[in-house]
């Protein structure tokens, strides 16, 4: 089987692998790099469980080839906490009971982080629109909206929060 070399930065760490050209980014992250926090929930890019950041943009990693992501900066759920300090979104999802089975949660948090970078002070309707590419079967979304709003308040109050730092990454 022909392979192709990919090198990319994942959560700040340089990583590389020889992969089949058809390998999906989500499988590179999960099966090759062992970052199993990013999940797969559908085959059709509908559910968003696989959402990560590629060069600062939200992306569904089941619909990106690993070779397409070569050279990119990837951020996954494993890169959100600052050591033992949870990211404000992680803390908010916990505080507000914004998760139940937890399967959609990493993708939901990554999408919410992207959303708050684009719109630091969203209305509830804007939050709902912003996470509408991510399906949750457990929570009915009510507490997810509350969690995103809690994090929005904390992030806008603190310029040193990790998402604010990520916003400085060149997204071009």
């Amino acid at each position: 089987m022909t392979t192709q070399h990919v090198s990319l930065t994942v959560n700040g760490q340089p990583m590389e692998a020889d992969v089949e050209p058809r390998l999906l980014l989500v499988h590179l992250l999960r099966d090759v790099f062992g970052l199993t926090g990013t999940h797969v929930g559908c085959d059709t890019s509908n559910c968003g469980a696989c959402t990560v950041h590629v060069d600062g943009r939200s992306a569904k990693s089941c619909t990106v080839l690993a070779v397409q992501a070569s050279g990119s900066e990837i951020r996954t759920i494993e890169g959100m906490a600052d050591g033992a300090t949870l990211h404000p979104l992680q803390q908010a999802f916990w505080d507000q009971h914004g998760l139940q089975c937890g399967f959609c949660t990493p993708g939901m948090i990554m999408q919410s982080a992207w959303l708050l970078e684009q719109n630091p002070h969203p209305t509830d309707d804007e939050v709902r629109e912003g996470i509408s590419g991510n399906l949750c079967r457990c929570t009915g979304y009510v507490n997810i909206v509350k969690a995103v709003q809690q994090a929005a308040g904390q992030l806008s109050a603190s310029e040193s929060a990790p998402v604010a730092a990520a916003a400085t990454v060149d997204a071009s």
Binding site: R22, T36, G41, R137
Partner: protein, 794 residues
Amino acid sequence: MTTELHPQTTPEVGGMGHSVKRKEDPRFIQGKGEYIEDVNLPGQLWLDIVRSPYAHAKIKSIDATEALKIPGVAAVVTGKDLEGYKLHWMPTLAGDMQMVLPVDTVMYQSQEVAAVIATSRYAAADGVAAVEVDYEPLPVVVDPKKALQPDAPVLRTDRGPDKQTNHIWHWESGDAAAADEALANADVRIAEDIYIPRIHVASIETCGIVADWNPIRQQLTMHLTTQAPHAIRTVVALVAAGAGLPIYEHNIRVKTHDIGGGFGGKVPVYPGYVLAVAASFLTGKPVKWIEDRSENLQADSFARDYHIHAEMGATKDGKIQALKVRTIADHGYTDAAADPSKFPAGLFNVITGSYDFPNAFVEVDGVYTNKPPGGVAYRCSFRVTEAVHAIERMVDILAHDIGKDPAQLRMENFIQPEQFPYHTPTGWEYDSGDYPKALQKALDLIGYDELRKEQAEKRARGELMGIGISSFTEIVGAGPSHDFDILGLKMFDSCEIRVHPTGKVLARLGVQSQGQGHETTFAQIIAEELGFPVADIKIEEGDTDTAPYGLGTYASRSTPVAGAATAIAARKIKEKARLLAAHLLEASPDDLEWTNGRWSVKGSPDRFKTIQEIAFAAYTNHPQGMEAGLEAVDYYDPPNLTFPFGSYIAVVDIDKGTGEVTVRRFVAVDDCGNIINPMIVDGQIHGGLTMGLAPALYEQITYDELGNNLAGTFMDYLLPTAVETPAWELEKTITPSPHHPIGAKGVGESATVGAPPAIANAVVDALWHLGVRNIDIPITPPKVWRILHDKGIS
């Protein structure tokens, strides 16, 4: 939630009534949950499945030659291979038979036809694409009513000579003659056909297994997405025994890890599980199978698919007299329901609902069709959703027919608080309830009278707005052993508590969380009973080598059954602690009293021993003649089911141009008895409501006349997103269960059961003046648009 709770423990202890933050969450929010796809074992092989494009066909040949040439493909397994091990059929939980792989005939589209075993996920998929199967299509039976006609082809020719029919079983409940007589004498008599469509739980995590047969140890470990690990272990042991395989129950270990949503879909045994076990047994290597979403939606067990004909009689002023219901249940090609043995139609005869029916009769006929196995739940305790939808629709139709407000008609027909325990005409004993209180609370909260005025004004302007009520009664907590079993296994559940010397606690249960928060709520029950802080209590489930036997988590049974076992086990520990405290305090056990986590001498509150001190003494200073240690186990056999209830009100607006229904407001007043964790209860209701909204407006698996699944991916099977889902408004009443040790009733499915008719009633309410009596769910824009178009409305 504004309903006032009065916790008996401090927030630090975190007993019942505290919104303790979930103990399981830190791993989930950091991407450190361990779901089935995260389990990888050294040397593991991957399994993928060849599936049928036809709904009914003869398999003329299977050619694996090209597949086996693909690098990494190790084997292709067919039904004929399994037949040699007597593993080509397996029992369903309903006692029917299901193919693991077909030997000669496929019975539904996407049925398993062959398994490819390979060294990688991608190689296995390549192998699947290269297996060539030659089919000869057979006549397809899609409509269950046509399946019962004499000229319909018999689908299950494998059954005995006396069972050469597509009719599976007949089940009935109540008094037919009395119901007929009451209907004949009723002033008002209404009848309606109501279809409850086939839907799929579609948990965001699909199903999967890593099967690990160790030939040296003769040990089978099944890492598995299952809601019922112990029952699965026993089923596997029985299947192995039937096949003569040396896999015995003490050498079978089921481990669940974290489960990404279940809702009933992870109760059955799927062919993929058995294939992975067989492949591991044959290769001596771990074998992993993770189904993809298409397989999940097209082949896993389905819910609902009930064709209901309901008749109701009443006096001219709306006093309900009788109910008669005839139903055809489409089970696909095998009855794979997870219902208790005595109840092939589940608890559908709870269909008299919240109302004081003098007479009722219900009958259901199960039917085979060329569809995937049907009859599991969709976050619904054994066919209760179907029952609630039918009765709540009928009550609304009656109200509209006689010109009475639907809220008023319900108030006049409710079982009244003083009638509990209440015996229904179909045999249930409702434990407790206050239905008028719940409905009144919902009416007040939503501002019902104002909404009716607004509706009248809007109707005068030609705008379409509707208000719908659902006053449901749930039936959960299966169940008492004299009536409830699955494949003979009585439906008790269990908890084992071990108190360590330093006052830390490990508790293990026979149920299995799939997101419900068991690690938190069961710790709270122990905290309530024994005074240990929640932080000092670890809950474990889902390892059959360590947890006590239980029937698992479905049908909202965890709190009613395992929660009761937890409280009783804790009370056993409390009683032993009393004896230990008496020894330490040199007092008589009868002279001690329990308060706030300590035994103290009556009248001398300064003479006490804390539960932590007692725990240490249990291992260091126990009296002679007493066993050391502080442990207890309880297998709880509930004396009755529990009956949560509630009243929901939906307000909908309908776009005349598109037919789109928008749920503008939705008030849910729930009563689940005593509340363990208010935050988690609200979360369960939020989720349940959303899984009620889903089939009401969006979700349905449909088939064309050839049995092709028309909603086999998330492109066509529409789960509600955050945009369609309204901001649910919740309230509570609290009516404890009189027979449950902590007065709790269960809550996980109430909202799924109660929500769909509230929405359907609201839509019909908006259109009643146009002559609309019923619209089957899901009420999609095309359905509404067609009605409006036919009525000349735009």
